[in-house]
């Protein structure tokens, strides 16, 4: 499965905007909605709500993509995003506002870096995590 990288940037920009709204309003339900969007996109990046918006509104104006990128990194990043926003939603909705704010802040950091610089934070950290979480005897 290959994806249009521009679509991912647009999705990341939309995600950043939504998380900014989450932080500004402190709405746990909005965080939950974004978590659901992440979950759907992680399962199939082409069926993600933001991907639909991209194909409907932006792709017709841009023309077909010059190159495509593999889906695995995108799906991984989306599941990282899901984790953060799920924790954030849980925090806001159970009254642990600090937890909600911190988790949403990390989600915003990752989404904004992806949108503005095309840098996938989860992908960068992936190997480091694998190194730290697996036994040294490997």
């Amino acid at each position: 499965m290959e994806l249009d990288p521009r679509g991912q940037r647009v999705a990341a920009a939309l995600t950043s905007a939504v998380i900014i709204l989450v932080l500004a309003t402190g709405s746990g339900w909005l965080a939950l909605a974004q978590a659901v969007v992440f979950a759907i996109t992680a399962l199939d990046p082409r069926k993600g709500p933001y991907a639909y918006l991209y194909r409907l509104l932006i792709l017709p104006r841009l023309g077909p993509p010059v190159e495509r990128e593999p889906a695995a990194p995108v799906r991984f990043a989306q599941s990282v995003g899901f984790t953060f926003l799920a924790v954030s939603a849980a925090g806001y909705l159970t009254g642990l506002t600090t937890l909600g704010v911190v988790a949403a802040a990390f989600g915003l950091l990752a989404a904004f870096l992806n949108a503005a610089f095309g840098l996938c934070l989860g992908c960068e950290a992936y190997l480091a995590l694998r190194r730290l979480t697996t036994a040294r005897s490997a």
Partner: protein
Amino acid sequence: MDALGIAVIVAVLVVATTIGLWHRRTDGMIRDEAADKKRRAAILAAAGVETVEFPDRKSSNAVASAAAKAASGAAAAAVHGNDTVRAANAAARSAAAGVPAAPDLPADSGIAVPVDSGVPAPAGPVDEAASAEPAGADPQLAEPGVPGVREPGDVAAERKSGVVPDSREEPGVVEAAARDASAAGESLDQGLLDRLGIGPAQATLLQFSSAFCAPCRAVRRISGEVAELLPGVQHVEVDAESHLAEVRELNIWRTPTLLILDAGGQVVKRATGVPSKPQLIAALGDVLPDA
């Protein structure tokens, strides 16, 4: 509207922009392994941490190449008018420390040359030479050793037999090692090379990739093109996840990481991220023997 939330938004955006700009600046920079090692050691020394030198556990071939490398490093330092006594001392010290001497080290490994040609030079140029030739300049990096480094007899023999170790007459490990004096990165043992599936070549582009790594593809394309363009260069791509032990050994934290190995199996340069094709070709120019 939540004041705390707004503050957090602003803080995160500032941090993210900083990270992004820094990443853009440093991504794909090809750094000299020897210079890097030196810098790390300097930082550790400044922090008051002692660096521990691990004993050499390489095959005899690797020891030979390391010794020859130390020798040629000292020679290079001498050529640049460097402090030869210091380098020679370091080599002698590590030899005295009980590291087994290379059995198949040729007699004319060139370590004594510095005493001959080490004409005192003004301080400025010396420093420049030192930074240009990190291996030769840094006694810490001088690999274990050559016995009898400063014996006068050797000096005389050296004078007769010529100056720099002759790379054309001695094919194999020593030739390759002697060719590049600036390589003082990690020398990989044969077992590690085998596990990573690296065959012999003049230079190896060793790429570490992972499944969740979008830029790995770009590095694969660039490295493949460069390997096709330059004779004697091979490109080996390794899945980092299935080689975690080697990943630890080579101190790799991110993918893509590209290591440039010379013919002697030494890590000469390292790039994290996506280097540009011209940068990569230029870096290989330092590693490959002069055409």
